[in-house]
Symmetry: C2
Subunit: 276 residues, 2 copies
């Protein structure tokens, strides 16, 4: 539908009601989130089993086995625990995404062999053991090292989702510009790799966050972002996305925009106002 590849973020065990559903093995809650995100346009479903670390392998396996029968889209295994990811890999039916690797050597060593062996896609964060570089140049250098690693393992560039990283504007007003510059620099240097990002960090600690998230998405799309981890059930966000793609000339004859509107995918208040 959209030219942006959406990774649905809602099945995340750090959210309280998802954590409870995992603990109590409430399959219906998880399946509802899976089906609704897929119907709203997600191309991948992020699956995060949360913070009960000893239980994480079992929890992740349960999540995967619960979700797979009800959707046809692939999963993104969101874990820093190589045991959990390896356990999940035994039960996934479609080659998953691994979320994530970074320039940290241990994380690369743990995860990259799994990615290569199973033909996975992978989210690669532009940070390393020293943290998140302050500058675009610093993040680009980490991205270059990551691409050298994935290429040396035979992972095709278009399986790699580089994350330029967004930090809150509350502490550094120029932060979004660094991220947007990093998107442009990576897009230029690695045209076949994807660029993906969690959007909501940008507004952490600020009020009325959705306005900031939407402006950031619009500018990131223009810069070259082609994937994002977001909530596809957020109608305002999805409408802003459809509008941005329309303005960027990526929606021929406005078909996607007008179809999404007619299908009721936009915010209710807006639809009401437009019909009045």
């Amino acid at each position: 539908m959209s030219s942006l590849t959406i990774i649905g973020e809602k099945i995340n065990g750090t959210r309280r009601h998802v954590a409870r559903a995992i603990e109590q093995r409430e399959a219906a809650v998880i399946r509802d989130l899976a089906v609704r995100q897929a119907e709203a346009g997600a191309a991948w479903l992020d699956v995060n089993a949360g913070t009960r670390s000893s239980a994480e392998p079992d929890d992740l396996v349960w999540l995967i086995e619960t979700i797979q029968p009800v959707v046809e889209i692939p999963l993104s295994l969101d874990s820093a625990n190589p045991l959990a990811v390896a356990a999940g890999m035994q039960v996934v039916e479609r080659a998953p995404m691994i979320n994530s690797i970074s320039g940290e050597p241990q994380r690369l060593e743990d995860m990259l062999p799994l990615v290569a062996e199973h033909g996975c896609s992978v989210i690669a964060l532009a940070m390393d053991s020293a943290g998140i570089p302050e500058t675009c140049q610093g993040r680009l250098e980490v991205a270059r090292r990551l691409m050298a690693e994935t290429r040396s393992r035979g992972v095709p560039d278009d399986h790699v989702y580089l994350d330029p990283l967004a930090m809150t504007l509350a502490t550094k007003t120029e932060g979004a510009q660094v991220t947007l510059d990093t998107i442009r620099a990576i897009r230029e240097e690695f045209p076949d790799a994807h660029l993906s990002m969690g959007l909501s960090n940008i507004s952490f600690g600020l009020p009325a966050r959705s306005f900031i998230n939407r402006a950031f998405l619009t500018l990131a799309l223009a810069a070259g972002l082609d994937s994002a981890i977001l909530d596809p059930l957020d109608r305002e966000m999805m409408a802003a996305l459809a509008a941005a793609e329309l303005v960027l000339g990526r929606d021929h004859h406005c078909l996607n925009y007008t179809r999404a509107y007619r299908a009721g995918l936009f915010a209710r208040s807006e639809v009401r106002a437009a019909r009045a």
Copy 2:
């Protein structure tokens, strides 16, 4: 407040209730629109006396004399009728903007002497007798001719508000890109001139227009737009504007954004959601 120079659009005789207020000389209606737009952040007030052409000079004079006592910001005289503009010029207290000239010779001949003589600012549309050029290059060439004319009359560049022109995406999906490219090209070549635009044409004939208008504003700000004719009482639009400036790194320490939020200038639904 905002780094965007806002020209408030609401006092426009082509709107039915404004037309009635003009005909019936209801000063309170007009003054209310003037004060509220100024309070919401307008730097100029556009004043359009509407379509009763024989009455236009008298109507424009009445509007100006009605508005001036209640606001301190200058006016933009929005008329294609040189007699109306000349009449208005006799009663304005602060050097106004003239909306508009274009590359059409008659319009230049009618309006430019008034602009030069009275130290006015002027909106200059990137179109001529042949219509609106389809390409960025065509609009840039009209802009060059217009700048040559204003300079030859001694009008300083920073009194000129070049309008790159937006046409609806409903008929041409690439249209917004032409406008954005034109903004970048004019900004590069005439760094001291302003770039201004009416935003809402972009979404004419499409549903849920405000999403499109906001995405377009965000991308136009990034391209170099520094002024716009819009409705400063549209809270969603003003919040989107504040968010875009924040993401573009133009709002140091997020002061403007957080102040606007605290002052209740954002959409009510959003504020409610943020407080929940």
